[in-house]
C-alpha cells in the first residue's frame, strides 16, 4: 500500500508516507492506484497506436507548462528521449511545426487544455483533415484529459498540504 507514495502524484505534491495527510491518501488507495495505471495507459501504452511515446511525453510536458505546473513539466521533460527532435514542441510558445499533422495536434492540445469550452465540431474535423485517424483522436483526447486531471490533483493536494 506504500506504493502510492512512490507515485508521481504523491511525489509531485510532496506527500510522503509519514505525512499527516498520508492516512487521507491511503483511504483512497484504489483511486491512487488507478490514477497511476491511467498514467501508464496514456503515456506508455503498448502498442502506442498513432501517437508515439515520445510525442505523448512531449505533449504532456507542454500541457503541464500551460498549467504552470513546473514539477510535472520537469517529470515529463525527463521522459522525452534525448535524441528526439520533439523537445521544441514541449515549449508552449512553439506552435508552427512544418508538419501539418503535428501542427493540428498542437493546436488541438492547447485549445482543449486551456479552453475546452470553446471546442466545437470543427476542431475534430481539423484533426481529421490533417490526417489524424479517429482512434488517434480518442488517444490524444484521453492524454489531454488525463494530464488535465493530474495537474489539478497535484495542485489540490499541495493546497491541502499547506493547510495541514
Amino acid at each position: 500500500m506504500d506504493d502510492i507514495f512512490k507515485s508521481i502524484l504523491a511525489e509531485a505534491a510532496g506527500i510522503s508516507v509519514d505525512h499527516p495527510l498520508a492516512a487521507v491518501l491511503s483511504g483512497r488507495s484504489e483511486v491512487m492506484r488507478l490514477t497511476q495505471n491511467s498514467h501508464d495507459a496514456v503515456l506508455k501504452p503498448e502498442p502506442p497506436g498513432g501517437l508515439s511515446h515520445s510525442e505523448r511525453a512531449t505533449l504532456a510536458c507542454r500541457m503541464a507548462r500551460l498549467n504552470n505546473e513546473e514539477i510535472l513539466a520537469r517529470y515529463y521533460d525527463e521522459m522525452i528521449p534525448e535524441n528526439g527532435e520533439m523537445r521544441v514542441i514541449a515549449d508552449p510558445a512553439f506552435d508552427s511545426p512544418d508538419d501539418g499533422r503535428l501542427k493540428a495536434i498542437l493546436r488541438h492540445t492547447d485549445l482543449v487544455t486551456m479552453n475546452p469550452k470553446h471546442a466545437t465540431d470543427s476542431d475534430i474535423l481539423a484533426l481529421k483533415s490533417a490526417g489524424v485517424l479517429e482512434a488517434d483522436i480518442v488517444r490524444l483526447s484521453e492524454l489531454i484529459a488525463f494530464v488535465s486531471y493530474q495537474v489539478r490533483l497535484v495542485k489540490g493536494l499541495r493546497l491541502m498540504m499547506e493547510a495541514v
Binding site: V31, S38, A41, E134, A135, V138, Y149, G156, E162
Partner: protein
C-alpha cells in the same frame, strides 16, 4: 437533425459523437473487456463505444470514475455532485452538467440550489458549505488553476474534513478529465 443544446439544463440530453464509435460486432477482445466494466446506461452507449478506440485507458478510467464518484465515506454524494457540476460549468460541458445537476436534485430533493447556480454562477445563493465547495471546484477547474490558500481556508472553515476535501479535489479534477472527453468528442442534443 436536432441542433446541439447550448444552455445548461437538468434534462439529460442525448450525446451525438463526432468520432465514429467502435462497431460492436468488430470490437477486439481488448475493447470488449474494457467496455464490460461500464454500468449499463443506454444514454452513453455511443460514448463508451467512442472511448473503446483507446481500450487501455478506458479499462482504468471506468473503475477510477466509479471509485471517486460512488465510494463510501468522505464527501457526501450530493456534495460530490455539486463539485462535478461546478467543473462542468467552467468547461461548459452541457451533458455532464445535466447528468450531475439532475442527480444533485434527486439526492437533495431541492431544485433551488442548481437553479440559482445555473442563473447566477458564482453569485448563486448558497449556504456557507455549498458556497465553499462550489467556489473551490470552480477555481480548481480553470486553466491554470485559480484555487488558492484562501479557497482552501474557506472549505476548512465551512467544516469540511481533509478526507472530504480530498474527495472534492478528486471530483473536480476528474471532471477536468470527463468534460474534456464528453464535450470535445460529441454534442449534447435534445432527447425528444
Amino acid at each position: 437533425m436536432s441542433e446541439p443544446i447550448t444552455e445548461f439544463t437538468t434534462l439529460i440530453p442525448l450525446w451525438k459523437p463526432r468520432v465514429t464509435p467502435v462497431d460492436l460486432d468488430k470490437a477486439t477482445e481488448e475493447q470488449l473487456e474494457a467496455m464490460k466494466v461500464t454500468p449499463s446506461d443506454t444514454g452513453v452507449g455511443d460514448y463508451v463505444l467512442v472511448l473503446a478506440h483507446d481500450p487501455k485507458t478506458l479499462k482504468e478510467r471506468t473503475p477510477l470514475f466509479n471509485g471517486i464518484m460512488y465510494s463510501h465515506g468522505g464527501l457526501a454524494r450530493a456534495e460530490t455532485e455539486l463539485g462535478a457540476v461546478a467543473a462542468s460549468m467552467v468547461n461548459r460541458c452541457i451533458y455532464c452538467a445535466a447528468v450531475h445537476s439532475n442527480r444533485y436534485n434527486q439526492l437533495t430533493k431541492d431544485e433551488t440550489v442548481i437553479e440559482s447556480i445555473f442563473d447566477s454562477g458564482e453569485d448563486a445563493v448558497l449556504d456557507l458549505r455549498q458556497k465553499a465547495i462550489f467556489n473551490f471546484a470552480t477555481k480548481l477547474s480553470e486553466c491554470p488553476s485559480e484555487a488558492g490558500s484562501e479557497d482552501m481556508k474557506q472549505l476548512i472553515e465551512a467544516g469540511l474534513g481533509m478526507d472530504e476535501i480530498f474527495d472534492l479535489v478528486l471530483t473536480a479534477s476528474l471532471f477536468g478529465w470527463a468534460n474534456r472527453l464528453m464535450h470535445v468528442l460529441g454534442d449534447p442534443i435534445p432527447s425528444c
